[in-house]
Every structure is written in C-alpha cells, then in structure tokens.
C-alpha cells in the first residue's frame, strides 16, 4: 500500500547482503532509531524511562535465549543462573580490581559463556524436556554455589554493590543517562543477532533445530555448534546480568532465581521462537503487561469495586489478566507475537487487493 517491493534492483553484492534491502524498511529502522534516541528521552519523564530501561535489559536477555531456544531448538531454564554468573563476575572485577565497564561487561559475558558451554555439554545426548531438566539443575547448582561460596558472593547477604558505570569520565547517574547506556548495548545485541542468524553459524543452528541428523549428514559438527549456541546465548545472558547489576547498583543472587528464567522463557515463547523481532516484542509484552494491566485496573476498577477492595483486587486480578492474555495471544497465534505482526503486515502489503 505505502510502498512497492517491485523495482528494487540489486546491482552489487553489498546491496544483496544488506540487512534491509527495501527502502521502506530502512526508513522504518531510521524512524525507530530517531524515536528512541531523540524523541523518547526528550518527552519522557523518569518514570517511563525507568520502565523502558527494564525493557531494554529484558530485550538483551530474550535475544540471547532466543538464539538457543528459538534458533537452535535447545530448551534452557538456566537463563537466570547465567545472568547471575555474569553479574557476580563483573561485580567482583569492579569492586576488587576497579575494572571499568568496558572490561567488566565483556568479562561477565565471557564467564557466563564459559559456564554456559559446560552446562551445554549434556545437550549432545539429551534433548527436549530432558535437556530442560538438566539446565534446571544447572540453575539450582549455580544458585546454591553463589549463595554459599562467600569468595564469589562477598558475604552472607550474597550481594555486591557496584558503582554506576563511567563513560568518558562521566558517571551515569540519572535514568536518562543509563537509558542511553542500555540502548547502546541493545542496538549492539540486535545487530549482532540479526547478523549471526544469517551467518554460517546461524544457519548451522537452524539446521540443527530443524533436523539434527540431517544436519550432521550435511557436515555440521553438531557438538561444536550446540556448544556455540549455549556459549553465545549465555554470553548474552551474562551481559544482561551485568547490565541489570549496573542499573540496580548491586549484584544480588535473589534477582536471578528460577522465576527469572521462566520469565525469559515466557518472553521468547510469547514473542515468537526463532525471530529477533519476536524477542523484542516478547520482552516488551512480559515487562509491560503487568504494569499496563495495573494502570488499567486502577483507572477503571473503581467502577466495579469499592476502594478498600480494589487494593486487594488489583494485584490478584492482574495475575489473572496477565495469564489470560498470554493464553489469548497464544491461542490466536501459537507462533507468537512476531507471527501475529507478520500476518497483519502481509494483509496490508497487498491491501486493498486481497488476492
């Protein structure tokens, strides 16, 4: 309707390799970049930006988990633990050695990648729900270790304070400053994932997901690529943990327990397995929906309930609505929000000529 897909001629290899071959796609990306880099920080106050920050952190984690679950087809319930590995690595580097963020952040990611690769070893032999249980065990072991090894956790409280990062000598204090910090890494993570999944490694992941025996026969070293998937995914999770710790100013293992792993798994499934946009949508959905339903109930709940009851109704009804909407969206489109969006887009693509 708004654009034509015909008449786009690729005359060079570079044009053929472009991430966004259509002009409209490029314009959309530019518009979104403008929205989030310029407009949002100008018009939003601290509260909406703090919500955005939580979403940005979730996006990185969801992208990482999607590489593993969505693209490679290996279920993991250990994201929370990998996040905590990253968080505590960075926290210890920062507090003991005074490491700057550009050192602590990749170090946290690499340590998580290392631990993730070890956890991924059983994936060669076990699949599906069994692998999920193996990663669940990893989650519990890592939780226990951090809780009990004080050399890592820094004391009985198992929390290590981390000062906010400094960029070019400026300490990031306000919500807005930390927003740009997080946005930078989200863009980096998005670009990395988009390029990864169309690379040789990414295609190997997809081959393994679709049919691992066939993949092996066409010459993909399954063991190696599965471990890559675990390592890359855990790297993202570790970075997420570091980002969250920087944002909160503290690494605390109670922030990375099993419910966090489940939340991230929910993001990936609701958003859409095996899609970058799906990870983003899922992260937004799972983070924003509880907040939105509460606002909604606070505004309109007064019509149905007395004020004293309302305080009790809101949190409980919020859980019901949250669960209900997840079921609703999955029933409407089992393949997630990403597919839902593609359906809408495909409809308007040929509109008003349906066929």
């Amino acid at each position: 309707m708004f654009h034509r897909e015909s008449g786009v001629f690729k005359t060079s290899y570079a044009a053929d390799m472009a991430l966004y071959p259509l002009p409209i796609a490029r314009w959309t990306v530019a518009a979104f970049a403008g929205l989030f880099i310029v407009i949002v920080p100008v018009i939003c106050s601290d509260y909406p930006i703090s919500i955005l920050n939580l979403i940005l952190i979730a996006i990185v984690g969801a992208l990482g988990l999607n590489i593993l679950v969505g693209y490679t087809g290996q279920i993991s319930i250990g994201t929370g633990a990998f996040m905590s590995v990253g968080a505590y690595t960075a926290a210890n580097l920062v507090t003991r050695l005074g490491a700057p963020f550009w050192l602590a952040l990749p170090a946290g990611g690499l340590m998580a990648a290392f631990v993730g690769a070890i956890v991924g070893i059983p994936s060669l032999r076990i699949k599906g729900i069994y692998l999920a249980i193996a990663t669940l065990a990893a989650q519990l072991i890592i939780e226990w270790t951090i809780n009990h090894v004080q050399w890592i956790s820094g004391g009985v409280q198992a929390s290590v304070m981390i000062p906010r990062p400094s960029v070019f000598g400026v300490k990031l204090v306000s919500e807005r400053q930390i927003y740009f910090f997080l946005l930078f890494f989200v863009v980096l993570a998005l670009a990395a994932t988009l390029n990864l999944v169309r690379s040789r490694v990414g295609r190997a992941f997809i081959a393994i997901r679709d049919q691992d025996i066939a993949a092996e026969i066409i010459g993909i070293d399954i063991f190696r690529y599965k471990l890559y998937a675990f390592a890359i995914s855990s790297f993202f999770a570790g970075v997420t943990g570091v980002l969250e710790s920087y944002y909160l100013g503290i690494a605390n293992y109670e922030q990375f327990q099993i419910d966090v792993s489940i939340d991230y798994l929910a993001m990936v499934i609701i958003g859409g397995l095996g899609s970058v946009l799906g990870s983003v949508l899922g992260a937004i959905f799972v983070t924003l929906l509880p907040i939105a339903t509460r606002l909604f109930l606070e505004s309109f709940g007064g019509l149905f309930f007395s004020n004293a009851n309302l305080l009790n109704v809101i949190p409980n009804l919020r859980l019901v609505i949250f669960g209900g909407l997840i079921i609703f969206f999955l029933v409407v489109e089992p393949e997630g929000l990403n597919r839902l969006w593609r359906n809408i887009r495909n409809y308007f693509r040929v509109w008003p000529f349906s066929y």
Partner: protein
C-alpha cells in the same frame, strides 16, 4: 485471520487510548503521599495480605481524626509480587507521584533500591527485613530498618535462651535452624560471636527453600544433636512444618524461640492449631494481641460505618506490624511538619522527622524506639510472646540484648 488482526488492532488502539487517559494520579494539595510496596500475591503473601490492609486502616484512622494538622495522608500501595523489576518500577512511579517517604517490601528489593534512595534523598523504612548493617544511619542515611534487624533478633533470641536456661549458657547446646537464603544466614555471625563470650555450643541446620520438608533436619536436631534450646529462623510455610515436626519428635516447644517471620497466627494455625503449638516462643517487633487502644479505635471506625471489623484484624501479629509501619511513617510526617513550620515538608525534612522519633509507643504496640541520626534501628527492641491458652501472651517486657556486640558488628560490617 485478517478480520481477527483488524479487531486486534482496534483492541490495541483502545487499550493505548485508555492508558494515555489513565496514568498515575499525582499528589494533591494538602495531601502527604506515602509510597508503600506490598506483597499480596508473591512468595510471602501470607504477610502482605494482612500487613497492607492494616496500613490503609491506619491512614484512614488518621484522616478520620482530621489528618496531621489538616494534612491528609494517602498511602499509595503497589504490589511488587516479591519481584525486583516490579519493585523498581513501583519505586520510580511513587517517586514521580511525589511520595515523601516509602516503605519497601522484601530484602532483595530493599538491597536493589538502596543506591537510588541516596541518589533521590528518599527516606525509606524496611521493618523486619533488608540489610542489618542499615541500622547505621551514617552509612545508610536514607534507610530506616525501624524494627529490630536480624542481628538484634539473633542477639535477643540468645538472651532469651539464656534467661530460660537459668541465666547461664556455659556448656549448653543451642540449635539454629534457618532458611537457606541470605536473610536466614544473617543472624549466624551474631550468634557465633556470642558463642565465644557466653561459652555455649551452637550448631546450625540449613533448610533449603521452599522449606516444606524438614524431616531430616528435625531428626538431626532432636535425635542426634539434642540441644537445650532451639532458635528458629524460617519463612513462609516452613515454620509451621518445623513446629509440627518438633512437636511430633517430642521436643518441648517451651525451649523453642522463633524469629519474627516464624511467629504469626497463620503459622500456629498451619501447624495444627493453638494446642499443638502450646508453649512456643515468638519474637515480635510489634505487640501481638488485641489489647491496644489503636485497634479498638479502628474497630470503632468500622463500627461507625456500620461494618464489622475486617477479618485481617484477627491475624494480630502481622496486622499490628502494619499498624507499626504506618504509625512510624505518620509520626515521621508529624515531626517533619513541625520542622517545616506547617509547609509541605521535603523528603529531607521527613528524614529529619524520622530521626526524631522517640517515646512513641502507641499504647504499648510500638516498642520504646529511640531513632537518631546514627541509629536508624531505634534500639533493636523485641518482645517475646508465648503461645498460651489459644493466644499470644507476653513472656517478657520489651528487651534489647547484647547491644555492644550488635553495634560492633554494625560498625565493622562491609
């Protein structure tokens, strides 16, 4: 599909429009806003479902008397579901709404928000949880534990054991059963320090979360270790399981003391009722039971509306803690209004008001707190209530224990 996608678009647009209209309501004129976090749905909901209505009841009581010098009190309550991101979002929202002070809920949330409190100069109470070291007002200027920290509780439990065992702990054995998380481990250092000076033997028994299966620990404690006294620091469902197990093993519950989160009516009920728990000692940082004037006033307020008092009031332990939280907040605001000379106080003035709270007992429900700029705990007071004849009976007066040891630990904490 297409029809569906169109209807979905309409729905989404509708929701977006509704949200744009909604937005959190900001503080109004002549109104003092308090931000409360709460857990009515999360891991510790047996606390939240009683504690939070109590706070709201107290605000209503204050307002029905004309507020604080004409200023109405409003408590904005947000359920954080015991999750950290939710806690952050709630904090940022209440900050934007203009809250003058806050009460957090949950140790991880308190820990996570601590850095922001200092940045935003936001006085915040964390009664009965959070970081024990926060009792030091110079290091944690905006965090007020108000009630006895885990360290003070541990010290008080040891003192109570000492009094019960004839005033001398030399050669006695004390078992410490704890929930295996940071909060559960926190009192250990204090008990270990006291072990040296008092000369008793202590062994700790960890209960892994969720703590509903204690068979092995109970046998270990009662058959192998055979302690003279048990200190129990459990949360959620595990206190009742432990009580039941100890009773079944024939251990005298008179020789058991539970720290503050193992000590509510709900725990007694879940253990099998009052007769099962007869003799069990509980540490309290707010008075338990019904015999306080403020509770009668709240009942009177409901009566005036032609309503029965809410059923939450039956859970006196937790309800009274809610009253304590709200009363301390209101008292801080009252002091702050004096400092500001009747103007709307700033958060700094509320902090100063909080640091002036003393000799404020609310008819015996609140301990004789002495909050100062350096001591944000107010003295670490607790009182032991014993289960006796179907209710909690005070077994001691308000007590402080081993203040020198606790204060030393607070000072040297990292």
């Amino acid at each position: 599909m297409t029809k569906l996608s169109r209807s979905m678009l309409t729905l989404a647009a509708g929701v977006a429009a509704g949200l744009a209209y909604a937005g959190p309501a900001a503080a109004e004129d002549k109104e003092l806003l308090i931000g409360d976090q709460c857990d009515r749905t999360g891991a510790t909901q047996i606390v939240g479902t009683v504690l939070c209505p109590a706070e709201q009841d107290y605000y209503r009581l204050v307002n029905s008397r004309g507020g604080i010098d004409g200023w109405m009190v409003r408590g904005d309550e947000i359920d954080n579901g015991y999750k950290v991101p939710e806690g952050i979002e709630a904090y940022e929202r209440q900050k934007q709404m203009g809250a003058l002070l806050m009460t957090l809920y949950g140790t991880p949330q308190t820990v996570a928000l601590n850095q922001r409190l200092e940045q935003d100069h936001m006085p915040t109470t964390s009664p009965g949880f959070g970081i024990s070291a926060a009792a030091d007002g110079t290091r944690f200027p905006y965090l007020f534990p108000v009630a006895a920290t885990y360290w003070s509780q541990g010290a008080a439990a040891v003192k109570f054991a000492k009094d019960q065992l004839g005033g001398d702990l030399k050669g006695k054995k004390i078992a410490y059963i704890y929930y295996d998380n940071p909060a559960g481990k926190e009192p250990i250092s204090i008990i270990e320090a006291l072990q040296k000076t008092e000369g008793f033997d202590m062994r700790s028994f960890a209960v892994p979360p969720p703590g509903v299966e204690l068979g092995a620990q109970i046998i270990d404690v009662t058959q192998r270790y055979r302690p003279d006294f048990i200190i129990m620091h459990l949360f959620g469902r595990s206190p009742s399981v432990a009580l039941k197990g100890l009773k079944g093993a024939g251990f005298p519950l008179k020789k058991v003391v539970g720290l503050v989160w193992a000590s509510a009516e709900a725990d007694i009920m879940a253990a099998g009722g009052w007769s099962v728990a007869e003799g069990y000692n509980t540490l309290q940082f707010a008075g338990a039971g019904d015999d306080y004037p403020v509770r009668q006033e709240i009942k009177g307020m409901y009566k005036k509306d032609g309503k029965d008092p809410p059923k939450e009031m039956d859970d006196t332990v937790i309800y009274n803690r809610g009253l304590l939280q709200a009363a301390v907040q209101v008292q801080a605001l009252t002091n702050a209004l004096k400092i500001s000379g009747g103007q709307k106080p700033t958060t700094e003035q509320v902090k100063a008001g909080m640091e002036q709270i003393h000799d404020f007992t609310l008819g015996g429900l609140v301990p004789p707190l002495q909050i100062t700029a350096t001591d944000h705990e107010g003295g670490g007071w607790v009182r032991v209530f014993q289960v006796h004849d179907g209710k909690f009976v005070a077994a001691t007066d308000w007590i402080q224990a081993y203040r020198d040891v606790v204060e030393n630990q607070v000072k040297t904490a990292e």
